[in-house]
Symmetry: C2
Subunit: 136 residues, 2 copies
């Protein structure tokens, strides 16, 4: 059962996710990615690719790279710390969950406002059409 260890070059990842290579190297600099090397050249694994997805997802939610890095250590740190550490982790998890809940509420509100704006916009368009009708 040979593992199909597909790997990626930096420009492959860049074009797939539509970011620059500069960004990808920057993420590594910030401790978000840890590609291996063949000589000087960076080699990205499937795991790194998954990381990229997660990074971009975090960014779309307005998280900073530092926060995303913290979430990563939450994620892959096999929880083997002291009880104090573990409780701290639980704390952070609940904190993040609260942020997401707030965002859900915010999104709902903005959606309502968009509904409203769209309705008024549609009304204005209808108004224009009926005026055109009268003119003909």
């Amino acid at each position: 059962m040979a593992e199909k260890q597909r790997s990626y070059s930096i420009s492959e990842l860049a074009s797939e996710f539509d970011v620059t290579t500069r960004s990808i190297r920057f993420y590594e600099d910030q401790g978000l990615l840890h590609p291996t090397r063949r000589g000087q050249t960076r080699i990205y694994s499937r795991q790194d690719r998954v990381r990229m997805k997660l990074i971009l997802r975090g960014k779309r939610l307005g998280f900073s790279l530092a926060e995303i890095r913290d979430l990563f250590s939450l994620w892959d740190e096999t929880p083997s710390g002291s009880q104090k550490q573990l409780n701290l982790l639980m704390e952070i998890i609940h904190q993040k969950r609260a942020e997401l809940d707030q965002q859900l509420k915010d999104i709902a509100m903005v959606q309502l406002e968009l509904d409203n704006a769209e309705r008024r916009c549609r009304d204005a368009l209808d108004e224009l059409r009926t005026q055109k009708q009268k003119a003909s």
Copy 2:
């Protein structure tokens, strides 16, 4: 029927929303707020207060101040433009709605990951407790 036109000072708003006065003046600079003046001093209306809420909500969703300003003009521009303008507005509205939908998906994914992390964390805590039990 005297309108109860409550007004606010800059520091009142600042403490209520837990931002600095510098930020509030900056938002004005960027065209997000338009307080009236008594002499030099800024006077904020209830409408301005509502604006503040919307600004912070937008920020929590990761919008830039420029985007928020655009949403504002979407919002209070009585849709009285040309048909071309109105169609453009509809376009922008749908664009923003798509962004929000994407965020909803992203939030759902991150929530799953948090669930996962919390479970592993809880398991590790249980593990610690049972070990303590054995030791006693």
